[in-house]
Amino acid sequence: MTFAEQFSQNFLEDSRWQFIATGLRNTLIISLFAVLIGIFLGFLVAIIRSTHDKTGKFKFLNLICKIYLTVIRGTPVMVQLLIMYYVVFVTVDPGKMIVAILAFGINSGAYVAEIVRSGIMSIDQGQFEAGRSLGFNYAQTMIYIIIPQAFKNVLPALANEFIVLLKETSISGYIGLMDLTRGGDIIRSQTYAALFPLLAVAVIYLVIVVFLTYLVGKLERRLRNNERS
């Protein structure tokens, strides 16, 4: 078969390209919403943990956070996804997309939490005291002074976390969800030609990741130029 024939067989016949298109759409949706959940959870956990470290408050919540971090970071994300699908949501079925978004979001939250916490802890104690001395309470100081700085500092790391997450969603096929990887794999199983569909999948991931990496680099430079501190 010529190159053109192979291409046509894998992507054009029976509109097989749609597997890739739908898969890509699902991959992007899962990644996007999972990262939003991850950032929300991550900030929540990071704030509870650093408040505990600084003030000794939230003993119980801090314990829960620690368990969460240990469990999530101590087990493979694939196992978490399978448990989410076959155990947690065994009776109610919210849809595979929701299951994947939740599993990846909860997983990502644990990593985001540690990124954000290190960001908070890296802010000079003098910033905190300056805020308190002006009359801000603990929460106001965090919100107006500490978190904005911490967020700026960890933005590149958070963006990288998004890139990692995007690639991790490629295991979504294990719960029968058609993400980008599974889309390519379905074509392979229909045409018995592995090279083209899988190469296409790999190239798409690569393009997205390279593009995002480029954006992160740009962001990092912008942040550095902005205040130079």
Binding site: E129, L134, N137, Q149, R228, S229
Partner: protein, 248 residues
């Protein structure tokens, strides 16, 4: 100004502070009246910062009481944040907020704490920027400023809350020598305008010329305090004599 008839702003009664077994302040009692400029001097590690930081509860005293405008701020039921709004503080390391422009540094607290509207705070910031001689820096970020400029902005930021008293912890110690003057000059102007000030400093010239009272702390105690004329000319405490002979 004769401060004797002015009301007492800060009344420190038997203040004690220890870190673990390290007793840093060992019963300090003094009164700071409206309009006074109190310079605190003493050897490194004697507890000057700890004393100053206790006055707005950045350090929590382990004993004694501190009355601010009649209210015991060491009382657990007192809203410390409210009290701190009336007590400005200037740090050795400036501690400007690097993520905000100069003007926003000044406006943040009055606006977010609901003391002023955005418009009022903006006007006040412009006024203060003029007062500290840096109106052209309004839209710049702290990183663009020299040390002396940063400290003048830090003073403006504290003044924006219209505090009743200003605490300074070695405000010129982190500055290059050529920038010390501009900050001291500004503090002198503040003092002349009647601001009540407590200043931990190594600048004996400032203590001598601007302070209305100089306080020597050593071993966690006030060993001597007096008007600067007497304090420097006729020190009675031996440790103070030794100290002065070293720094003068």
């Amino acid at each position: 100004m004769s401060a004797v008839n002015e009301p007492v702003l800060i009344d420190v009664q038997g203040l004690k502070k220890s870190f673990g077994s390290n007793m840093v302040l060992n019963g300090i009692s003094t009164q700071i009246r409206k309009g006074e400029v109190v310079a605190i001097i003493g050897p490194s590690g004697c507890g000057k910062s700890t004393f100053l930081r206790s006055l707005n509860l950045l350090e929590i005293p382990t004993g004694g009481r501190i009355l601010f405008e009649g209210t015991d701020i060491t009382d657990k039921s007192v809203n410390v944040d409210r009290m701190r709004q009336k007590i400005g503080m200037v740090f050795q390391q400036f501690n400007l907020f690097p993520h905000l422009t100069i003007k926003k540094n000044i406006m943040l607290a009055p606006v977010k704490l609901g003391i002023m509207t955005r418009e009022q705070a903006s006007l006040r910031a412009d006024e203060l920027l003029k007062r500290v001689g840096l109106p052209e820096k309004a839209e710049e970020y702290p990183a663009m400023l020299s040390g002396g400029q940063k400290q003048r902005i830090a003073i403006a930021r504290a003044l924006a809350m219209n505090p009743d008293v200003m605490l300074f912890d070695e405000p010129t110690s982190a500055l290059d020598p050529e920038m010390v003057g501009e900050v001291l000059e500004l503090m002198k102007e503040l003092a002349e305008d009647g601001m009540t000030m407590v200043v931990v400093t190594h600048e004996m010239g400032f203590a001598r010329e601007v302070a209305t009272r100089v306080m020597f702390i050593d071993d966690g105690e006030i060993k001597e305090e007096n008007k600067p004329e007497i304090f420097f000319a006729q020190p009675s405490n031996q440790r103070l004599k030794d100290f002065l002979s070293k720094v003068l």
